[in-house]
């Protein structure tokens, strides 16, 4: 029967599980994000560097193809090791910041601007569920351009270089996935907090970019003026670079130790979580 002829009837069938309900939110958000051309273009651009890296890995393992171009020397230049993956991760980190700045603000800011939170929280959802569902959108999106291609490159290299290489470098795979997951967690928290902090999407996007670029500038200023190195700790990008270097077994730059960087970033995530907790209320109470 046509829906307009049917009339309203109360639903009394079985209800879905809590997890299924939660997954509905990222699904709808994903569908809306993929409708935005800019997001799709940036996502496609973010895949270029992994493709190039894939090409490098292929060539590095098929030096015979480069014999006419001085293949052996070139082979030494593109040696696949921790340094190679660190460069790959740094480049993808830039794309991931841009993608988070573009997509993150659209996740919470519109709900706050349109006062939609009471509608979510009058249903069987907690604030933690809501944040988790919103974060899942970013985690999924950022994973597509970070650890998934990273892992793919690692598997590609392992399959081409053979078991010996894998046995000697398996920790690189763990470092790529683990390092990127840490980065995604930090980036998602920054993007969600900015989105919850300001209701205007464009401003929230600028705030996400500003968070990384301004803190990098402030950190440089602190180091230069005070002639210290601990200023690096307030630069999340540099702090993460130090952590990744340690994880990938590459020489760690001078300055704070990786554990100090981990501690500062963990504290930052806690502060961001507290801000989110403060901002995400179904009703605003003015003391």
């Amino acid at each position: 029967m046509a829906v307009y002829k049917r009339g309203y009837e109360r639903y009394d069938g079985p209800l879905t599980s809590h997890t299924t309900r939660l997954l509905a939110m990222p699904r709808f958000a994903w569908a809306r994000l993929m409708d935005q051309k800019l997001v799709v273009i940036l996502l496609a651009l973010s895949m270029l560097w992994p493709l190039l890296c894939g090409g490098f890995i292929y060539l590095a393992n098929h030096l015979s193809l480069l014999q006419g171009f001085g293949g052996n020397d070139l082979g030494k230049m593109v040696e696949i090791n921790g340094k190679f993956f660190l460069i790959f991760m740094n480049t993808q980190a830039v794309f991931s910041v841009l993608l988070a700045a573009l997509t993150g603000p659209g996740l919470i800011a519109p709900d706050l601007a349109n006062n939609a939170l009471p509608l979510y929280f009058s249903r069987p959802l907690t604030r933690l569920d809501y944040v988790g569902a919103r974060m899942a959108v970013l985690v999924g999106l950022l994973s597509m351009i970070t650890w998934i291609p990273g892992l793919f490159l690692f598997i590609m290299q392992s399959s081409m270089a053979g078991g010996t290489w894998f046995a000697a470098n398996w920790s690189l795979g763990v470092a790529i996935v683990g390092g990127f997951l840490l980065w995604i967690a930090l980036l998602s928290m920054v993007a969600l907090t900015c989105s919850a902090w300001v209701k205007w999407r464009i401003v929230a996007g600028a705030l996400v970019l500003g968070f990384f670029f301004i803190l990098a500038g402030v950190s440089q200023m602190v180091n230069s003026i005070l002639r210290v190195e601990f200023g690096t700790l307030i630069n999340p990008t540099r702090a993460m670079y130090i952590i990744w270097s340690a994880m990938l077994g590459v020489e760690v730059p001078s300055g704070p130790t990786p554990w100090e960087c981990v501690s500062v970033l963990a504290a930052l995530v806690v502060v961001l979580a507290m801000i989110l907790e403060r901002k995400l209320r179904p009703v605003e109470v003015i003391s």
Partner: protein, 325 residues
């Protein structure tokens, strides 16, 4: 069967202010399809009470239960049985009405296909069928109110809480909204809590009424029983000497209350007709400036409860005898 809402000495503070100051009441019967009106002047605590029932605020003492579930400790069970229509605009601006309702249905627990079906069904039900593919941001105020109602009932909840549902609606849209609310309880067996400061809305729809003032429940009445008592209230304004009017009306079995300046409020027994009143006026040679009559009692109940009227006419005999407040 448990009550729809059971509140026991509920105290809620927002910031440093105590908004609900120890209220207790039992309202409705679960599954009976009744409507409960929540009345009160602005700042009485109606919205805070609703938000506490939804688990948005934590009580500092006492308890509130919905359908037998504690609103603070069993908030998930409570919320899965409730549909809530907030007072202020609440929607996702760039979503179409169908997508919005589908999302709300799915996070309320409807399977994907059912949620889509119910979204269409509900939008037709509230009169937004033709506009269902338009973004909600382009809707008029009246349409937004209907969309808010639709999202509250899309999953077929046992209890629907409506916070000022007729705000900003023109008379026609208001009547349509009230009709939908009546259908919800009468045809679909939902319990409804209607929070409003418009007596007419509550009167048309509700079976019970709770009147709040300054964070306290000041009155609770069964409107159905009041209606059944079939008392007829008359507002009368006369010119000239009306000192003997109360006694003459008392002789007919009517209770009268003088408000001064020739204005009277009269409660007539069921057997007395308006024509009998005219005969008394003619007998006393009192020119009648105004005579209006109605069958409801809600306005008197409300005014008395909030302290604007000292006594309801017909309630206190001694007031009627001397004919003054």
């Amino acid at each position: 069967m448990p009550s729809v809402i059971e509140i026991d000495n509920l105290k809620v503070m927002l910031g440093r202010r105590e908004i609900l100051k120890g209220i207790s009441c039992r309202l409705g019967i679960s599954g009976a399809g009744k409507a409960i009106g929540l009345l009160g002047p602005n700042g009485a605590g109606k919205s805070t009470l609703i938000q506490t029932l939804l688990g948005f605020h934590q009580p500092i003492s006492g308890s509130a239960r919905v359908m037998g579930y504690d609103c603070h400790r069993q908030v998930r069970q409570v919320r899965s049985r409730i549909g809530y229509m907030p007072e202020s605009d609440s929607f996702i601006g760039n979503m179409t009405a169908v997508s919005f309702l589908r999302l709300m249905g799915e996070i309320s627990g409807l399977p994907r296909e059912v949620a889509l079906e119910k979204a269409h069904e509900t939008l037709f039900h509230v009169g937004l069928g033709e506009a269902r593919y338009r973004p909600l941001g382009t809707y008029s105020l009246g349409m937004k109110q209907m969309a808010k109602l639709a999202q509250a009932i899309v999953h077929g909840p046992e209890l629907v809480i409506l916070d000022e549902p007729t705000n900003g609606l023109d008379p026609q849209a208001r009547q349509r909204m009230l009709k939908l609310v009546r259908e919800m309880k009468e045809d679909h067996g939902m319990n409804v809590v209607l929070c409003s400061h418009l007596l007419g809305d509550v009167e048309q729809v509700c079976d019970e009424v709770v009147i709040m003032k300054d964070g306290l429940v000041v009155h609770q009445a069964d409107l159905e029983a009041e209606r059944k008592s079939n008392r007829r209230f008359v507002e009368l304004e006369v010119a000239g000497d009306d000192s003997t009017l109360a006694a003459n009306l008392a002789a007919l079995g009517a209770d009268a209350l003088s408000e001064g300046g020739g204005r009277w409020r009269i409660v007539m027994p069921a057997q007395l007709e308006i024509s009998d009143l005219w005969q008394v006026m003619a007998k006393l040679d009192l020119p009648v400036r105004k005579l209006t009559h109605r069958r409801d009692t809600l306005e008197e109940i409300f005014l008395k409860a909030v302290g604007h009227l000292q006594r309801t006419p017909g309630e206190a005999k001694e007031v009627v005898v001397n004919g003054s407040l």
